[in-house]
């Protein structure tokens, strides 16, 4: 576990996903209980499961000034969220360069929606005996590094830019580790979060595991039938408190704790006693210098699969007891995979700012043992913990705290 460490300021938030584009749109969706469950329309699939798809205006239309080269859906989701976060922080290229700013992003799907189409097209051509010239340019956006290169070029980031690929805990790890870059003094500002788009590979993959619900996720419901694959991006502007103060930036919240662990138990199933999940939460509390009773709200990973929710509920109860309000926001966004920790970091910071705990949408018959937030709840809180757990038994927990 890490030693207690000084907090890092959060001065910008950006989000996009099934709730729409932007933090204010997300706030409204959370308050009104507007679920993100809907049909898959990005391609035709024989698998009839709902998804958490972004359904707003074309992504390119949110980025008119950026003069983008051909790029992937995942790249654009990340850029839209990063642009919003930087605008809120009031940071533009010259200041970002001076601050040796960098970007740490969690991604797993990356440009797969584009690159898988190149592969499928090549297979179909080969099967048809078509020997004509084909374009392979779509492969150039396959790597997640493409997003980072675009961000570095567009926003003028001279500092470290790195992808973390720890499945569904990727963005939480990216945020926690970006804070360490700031604490080390190597950068004053970091963009941190995650982005992932839907793709055939992940949709078919989760369906093959038989963990996708036919009517959307109902986290911590006794009758839950599984998860919903989603897409989106959540990006924070992290900044040293001294840098934020010196430029008079409004500090939205503080990142005070980050804990991380690996189950080393199974490629997809969580450790049955939630050992790794508890270690991650305890590590975050330790770094923040807090105890369990200080946490006023937990944004759970809460995918709504049978095993994951069981184990997470057990781990939360073990660390926090049954009096800390808990909700999963997966029915609003779907499971945005590597982006989940970024999207849910934005949700967590807004809960602190607004004193409004988002509801555990979709749950009708709650599992006992947790204080599930079944309706939006007004509750001023000082510290919020956000969990993210991924394949490979990869666990991360972040703690956000009020700035004043």
């Amino acid at each position: 576990m890490a030693a207690q460490a000084p907090p890092v300021a959060i001065t910008g938030l950006g989000v996009i996903g099934a709730t729409g584009r932007g933090v204010s749109t997300m706030d409204a969706a959370l308050q009104q209980g507007r679920e993100g469950v809907g049909p898959l329309t990005l391609w035709q699939s024989p698998l009839d499961f709902p998804v958490g798809q972004y359904r707003g205006p074309r992504l390119e239309d949110h980025l008119p000034a950026l003069n983008l080269p051909p790029t992937s859906r995942s790249d654009m989701l990340a850029l839209v969220a990063a642009q919003e976060a930087l605008q809120q922080a009031g940071l533009a290229p010259p200041a970002l360069s001076m601050a040796r700013a960098g970007a740490y992003l969690g991604q797993s799907v990356c440009g797969t929606l584009t690159s898988e189409a190149v592969y499928i097209g090549a297979k179909e051509s080969a099967a048809a005996g078509d020997t004509g010239k084909r374009s392979y340019a779509g492969l150039l956006v396959h790597e997640g590094a493409n997003t980072l290169d675009l961000m570095a070029r567009i926003f003028g980031l001279p500092g470290p830019t790195l992808n973390f690929l720890t499945a569904c805990s990727s963005a939480a790890n990216a945020i926690g580790l970006a804070a360490e870059v700031i604490r080390s003094g190597r950068s004053e500002v970091m963009l941190a979060g995650g982005a992932d788009s839907l793709s055939n590979i992940v949709f078919n993959g989760f369906c093959s595991l038989k963990v996708v619900s036919p009517d959307g996720p109902r986290p911590f419901d006794r009758q839950r039938q599984g998860m919903m694959v989603g897409e989106g991006a959540g990006v924070l502007v992290l900044e040293s408190t001294a840098h934020a103060k010196a430029r008079g930036a409004k500090v939205l919240a503080l990142l005070t704790g980050y804990g991380h662990s690996c189950d080393a138990h199974h490629l997809t199933a969580p450790h049955p006693q939630g050992r790794g999940a508890m270690e991650a939460m305890a590590g975050a509390l330790q770094q923040a210098g807090l105890t369990a009773t200080d946490i006023g709200y937990i944004n759970a990973h809460g995918t709504a699969t049978r095993d994951n929710d069981d184990v997470e509920a057990r781990a939360i109860a073990q660390v926090f007891g049954d009096r800390t309000p808990v909700s999963s926001t997966k029915r609003f966004f779907g499971h945005t995979l590597a982006a989940a920790g970024g999207v849910e970091a934005v949700v967590s910071v807004r809960a602190l700012q607004l004193g409004q705990l988002p509801q555990n949408l979709g749950t009708r018959d709650p599992e006992p043992g947790l204080d599930l937030v079944l309706q939006p709840r007004s509750a001023p809180v000082n510290h919020v913990l956000s969990n993210s757990f991924g394949f490979g038994g990869n666990n991360a927990a972040l703690i956000f705290s009020r700035s004043e």
Binding site: A2, A3, A5, P46, L47, S97, G102, S108, E116, Y119, I120, A122, K123, T131, Y136, L139, E143, A145, L148, D149, A152, G156, L157, P158, G159, P160, T161, L162, N163, F164, L165, T166, A167, S170, N173, L177, E180, V181, N200, I201, N204, G205, F206, C207, L209, K210, H260, S261, C262, D263, A264, H265, H266, L267, T268, G276, E279, F391, G392, G393
Partner: protein, 367 residues
């Protein structure tokens, strides 16, 4: 607080363990060979490549565990076990929560991913293979290694084009400094599959010219000779009771086109650098990104010895540790032939410049 290297492991085209790798570097062997690659349309193209030798897991990993691993994971797990063995570390005797794994990989498990896609293309989406999907997840590499050695501490897979390994190294050093772990297996691995070769050659990034017998870092051709492999190092803080093989003096990472001069950051390290290793791979693109480099000491690229791939920096790291630990130098290869022998360095700067504008550097010195 300093960081030291206490063990290394490698599965390379040069050799499937550290000693074979070292002997080949000393002998100036070039493992570049014509290799048949099957294309999507069923045709076979033969092209030069540096393909890693089969990972020899005997005495390191139980056969039952090994059977569950795909090639990339197998190479990585074997290299990790070699490194642990060399450091005299038995994971069973360690606190698993203090043992971490940080791996760089650009493409992840590409071969498994292709099999997964083929499973639903050929049999329908309803019949996609769940096992292949599980193993296709990019970050599963570090998890596979952690599963093998029961490491429940930090577990990260990083990617950033040609500096995947250097980024993993930078991250691992930082995690040790934060005391988030006591021992970290830091590695880099990528596999050259038929599909990757087809796409790389169609995008004119990989050469099909069989007259090329190996990478010549001094040239500026339009395409490179690809390779693959895995390499791992054990990193610990310098208060470790184990004998260090080399000391990591400094790591730095950033963008060479817009910001801080990463090399000058790294060169602020305490020791006097007497050798610089680079990632020059004989391509025009690499020659362009290195043309601004002005070195006051000799520089060398060993990519002629083990090929170009995104995590080739991991093999260069192992070669650098070996040079420092054994007080010897390895001649660079040019088109399959050894160049002048290198002096035995005391302190090495590795300068990794990626064509995408990413830049990483580290300084290693004798322990």
């Amino acid at each position: 607080m300093g960081i030291v290297v206490t063990g290394i492991g490698v599965v390379s085209s040069l050799g499937a363990n550290t000693e074979a790798f070292r002997r080949a570097l000393l002998a100036g062997d070039c493992p570049c060979r014509p290799h048949p690659f099957r294309r999507i349309d069923g045709s076979v193209v033969t092209a030069p490549a540096y393909i890693a030798q089969p990972a020899d897991a005997a005495g390191l990993i139980e056969p039952k565990k090994l059977r569950r691993m795909f090639r990339l994971a197998r190479m990585s797990a074997v290299a990790a076990r070699q490194a642990l063995q060399q450091a005299g570390l038995d994971p069973a005797g360690m606190d698993p929560a203090r043992l971490g794994v940080v791996f760089g990989t650009s493409m992840g498990a590409l071969e498994v991913t292709q099999k997964f896609v083929d499973s639903w293309l050929e049999q329908g989406a309803q019949h996609a293979s769940p096992l292949q999907f599980m193993n296709s997840v990019h970050g599963i590499l570090a998890s596979q290694v952690a599963l093998d050695v029961n490491a429940t501490g930090v577990n990260l897979t990083t990617a950033q084009r040609d500096i995947c390994f250097e980024a993993a190294l930078d991250t691992a050093c930082s995690l040790l400094e934060q005391r988030r772990a006591d021992v970290i297996l830091v590695g880099g691995a990528d596999e050259l599959t038929d599909l990757l070769h087809e796409f790389g050659s169609r995008l004119h990034q990989f050469t099909l010219d069989l007259a090329q017998r190996g990478i010549d870092p001094g040239t500026s051709r339009s395409a490179v000779i690809p390779g693959d492999g895995a390499a791992v190092a054990i990193l610990e803080r310098d208060d470790s009771p184990r004998a260090p093989m080399a000391r990591v003096e400094r790591t730095a990472i950033g963008r060479h086109d817009v910001g801080d001069d990463v090399v000058s950051l790294a060169m602020n390290a305490a020791s006097a650098i007497d050798l610089i290793t680079t990632a020059l791979d004989g391509s025009r693109r690499a020659a362009n990104v290195y043309k601004r480099a002005r070195y006051a000491v000799p520089s060398v690229s060993h990519l002629g010895s083990f090929g170009q791939y995104p995590c080739a920096g991991a093999q260069q790291f192992v070669a650098n540790v070996l040079m420092l630990n054994h007080r010897e130098g390895y001649a660079p290869l040019a088109n399959g032939s050894p160049g002048p022998a290198q002096m035995a360095p005391k302190c090495i700067l590795h300068d990794a410049r990626s064509v995408s504008g990413n830049h990483a550097a580290y300084v290693l010195s004798r322990a």
